[in-house]
Symmetry: C2
Subunit: 98 residues, 2 copies
């Protein structure tokens, strides 16, 4: 029998990063503040998880404005989509034996 957890991506072990990705899959762009509110996180905690995802090149940051106010938004990259999908496939395969 093959190791069923070998194909899971370590980056997605975190519920928060999983949540961010699942939001980004269905939202082309989302702001720091919206993420913060949706996931009910402190600034620092969210920022550090976003940083991990950015390092992995799974998300991209866009610094912009809404009117004249700064607004940072995030979007998923192709690599991120692929990695997330692969993770979900691995999860499903692991469980589909049900």
């Amino acid at each position: 029998m093959k190791n069923p957890i070998a194909d899971l991506n370590k980056i997605f072990d975190s519920r928060i990063r999983l949540g961010v990705m699942s939001i980004l899959v269905v939202n082309d762009e989302i702001s720091f503040n919206d993420l913060k509110q949706m996931l009910e996180l402190t600034d620092g905690n969210l920022a550090s998880h976003l940083n991990t995802l950015e390092q992995a090149e799974f998300i991209k940051v866009h610094k912009g404005f809404i009117g004249r106010k700064t607004s940072t938004t995030y979007s998923i990259t192709n690599l991120g989509k692929q990695a997330f999908k692969a993770h979900l496939d691995a999860l499903e395969k692991m469980i589909k034996k049900l």
Copy 2:
């Protein structure tokens, strides 16, 4: 929008515990050694994760014999089945927006 990660069970954030549960869902009983080999873990690491699952009453331990050799086996509890299913449902709901 509702917090999409709120219904995920913290116990299943761990890939290893997720792996153990996914194995136990389809195997009525499985030995310590089989788990160890399937998941490619050290004794101590596996033991500690099994302990966490046992504390939560998601798995049960059975001390027995295979022939004349001692054999400890593990099985899933009803509570464990429920919790695992709830976690998978939460995961699916989080992602089904796809």
